[in-house]
Symmetry: C2
Subunit: 143 residues, 2 copies
DNA sequence: ATAAAATCGGAGTATTTTATCCAAATAATT
DNA sequence: AATTATTTGGATAAAATACTCCGATTTTAT
């Protein structure tokens, strides 16, 4: 079960973190990413292709081709990947599914949930890929 | 799009809050709930039936039958509904979808996300249906 | 008794999400 | 030039989630 992001988004986050953990500019094939992260090959290809369209990754075709980041890891935030794949709607919609949940017509948990949601957004906006490099490397070791 | 709960769970939470906002012991039909909350009738029936199996609601058949809470609103927490429908897995699994995300092999956001997740759990465990009654009533007014 | 209004249970359908397959294009290597 | 390893794009398949249908049963009210 997914926690808050779609599987697509989880995979995208994992893959992009993985790319950021490589030496800058290293090109990694979808097969490698797929094997290391245990993500279906064709699926992660598609995800990285869509992230390329969003300007987050870059791809090179042909033998020894693959994927790498389109920008320095310090310029990519986790929220960018989330936005590109799942969108930002979750940070703007009611946790209980009520329509028009706003300060004027708040749901019963509007305030308490709102605070949490804002913290989550904040967190994802602060974390850049380079800040997470060391932690990503140790996680990869353990896989 | 759902925020963190399935549609089933969102609907369940809404319906149970609605029941808690009625005078104690009032029996409400699935049709009424469906109309007020704009939830497909057959769908909310099934959801309330499964919540009955979990001991949260009670149902009475026949004419003037319907659903009510199985216990006092003060004894039902939001987390109980979540647990009954979606389960508690989301409070115990990695937000990035990594396997074995634990203090020993943490994902890159293990600590920051963990804190948020615990707060969310806490919140859902503190909020009982009766505490939310007034807020629920105003929300229902606005629908 | 009969009719009306409700839940119940089980099966079925629709939609969305996740995943796979394959042929074509591209580029490096031999 | 041929081979190999890769991405690309489009179609398709499988699985999960969301939702519906309907006949049977139960209860109340006339």
């Amino acid at each position: 079960m997914t926690v808050i992001f779609s599987k697509k988004c989880e995979y995208g986050l994992q893959a992009v973190l993985f790319l950021a953990a490589q030496k800058t500019g290293t090109v990694v094939s979808a097969v490698t990413i797929s094997e290391v992260l245990k993500i279906p090959r064709e699926f992660i290809s598609k995800i990285l292709q869509s992230l390329r369209d969003s300007g987050i990754t870059r791809s090179t075709k042909g033998k020894s081709g693959g994927f790498c980041l389109a920008k320095p890891a310090s310029e990519i935030k986790l929220i960018d990947i989330v936005e590109a794949i799942d969108g930002l709607e979750i940070f703007n919609s009611c946790v209980l599914g009520f329509p028009e949940c706003s300060p004027v017509t708040p749901c019963p948990v509007h305030d308490s949930w709102g605070a949490l949601r804002d913290q989550a957004f904040e967190m994802l906006s602060n974390e850049t890929l380079d800040k997470l490099k060391d932690k990503t490397l140790s996680k990869i070791q353990s896989l």
